[in-house]
């Protein structure tokens, strides 16, 4: 009982939200051979999905039509992150373009398979494969 009470108190004291710097999440955008490559660092979750959406839509409005989003350095995607990928894919297709995904780890592949989103996207093992096939 004392141990449990201690854990409760310790939990309350030790927990605090991470700052944006501590989260080290971000999106690196580059252009390679006519393809816009977005590399997701950290997580793609409810807290940062709008940032990704905004970045990709800016490039779409600027005339880009070929997109690869690479998850080699991504730990986790939540349902909001999956949703923003669906939304972006739809918008890019409406403009005659294509969004491909690359470098999903085993956990991320499982999420795509469970939600059947693996049927919606062309997914490659590496970003080089995605870029080369465009």
């Amino acid at each position: 009982m004392i141990v449990r009470l201690y854990r409760r108190v310790a939990a309350r004291l030790a927990w605090r939200p991470l700052s944006n710097r501590e989260r080290e999440m971000g999106f690196q955008v580059s252009r390679t051979g006519g393809v816009t490559l977005v590399e997701v660092e950290g997580q793609l979750i409810v807290g940062n999905r709008q940032e990704l959406k905004q970045k990709v839509l800016e490039h779409l409005e600027g005339g880009d039509r070929k997109f690869v989003i690479d998850f080699a350095n991504t730990g986790y995607i939540d349902s909001s992150g999956l949703g923003v990928l669906v939304s972006l894919s739809k918008k890019i297709r409406e403009q005659g373009g294509e969004l491909r995904l690359s470098s999903l780890n085993e956990d991320l592949r499982t999420l795509f398979e469970l939600t059947k989103l693996d049927t919606l996207f062309r997914i490659t093992d590496t970003k080089e494969q995605a870029l080369a096939g465009f």
Partner: protein, 156 residues
């Protein structure tokens, strides 16, 4: 999925009260996962199944239950048993009908940007139970004592 019948308290090992700030979810989930006894042996199921389930439950509680209201909080109570992890997440909203969410994998829904959170919780956790009001969800992950750390997540 059966509705949970009462509001009985659980003897929790860990209690967190979070603001309705989605920026707090990631760290809170990591904090809970790291407090699991015998973490290494069950790393895969904790990393995928439990983390996804808890993340989605917190996200639903903050976004839909508390409707982003910064004055409302989300309570997380976690019990680490010998063979189960039980997490109860309670928001201060009016609740919702968990049976009203359509299957996001159906062809007519697959292009919709939302509706996958509850689906993933049901797929990845062994039990997902809501109270009658619909503002409290209890997640249960069973841990196989014979499981090797090399065996992966999912399969719930």
């Amino acid at each position: 999925m059966k509705p949970e019948s009462g509001e009985s308290p659980i003897d929790s090992d860990l209690v967190l009260e979070l603001p309705s700030d989605v920026g707090s979810i990631e760290h809170a989930v990591e904090y809970v996962v790291r407090r699991c006894r015998d973490c290494e042996r069950h790393a895969a199921r904790l990393r995928l199944n439990f983390r996804v389930g808890l993340t989605e439950a917190l996200s639903n509680a903050m976004l839909y239950g508390n409707a982003h209201d910064p004055s409302k909080r989300v309570r997380v109570e976690v019990t680490f048993g010998e063979s189960t992890i039980r997490a109860r997440i309670t928001d201060q909203g009016c609740g919702f009908d968990p049976f009203s969410i359509p299957d996001p994998t159906c062809p007519e829904n697959i292009m919709k940007p939302d509706g996958r959170g509850l689906f993933l919780m049901r797929k990845l956790l062994d039990e997902v139970c809501y109270n009658d009001q619909g503002n409290q969800v209890t997640l249960v992950l069973r841990l196989d004592p014979h499981l090797s750390s090399l065996e992966g997540g999912a399969r719930a």
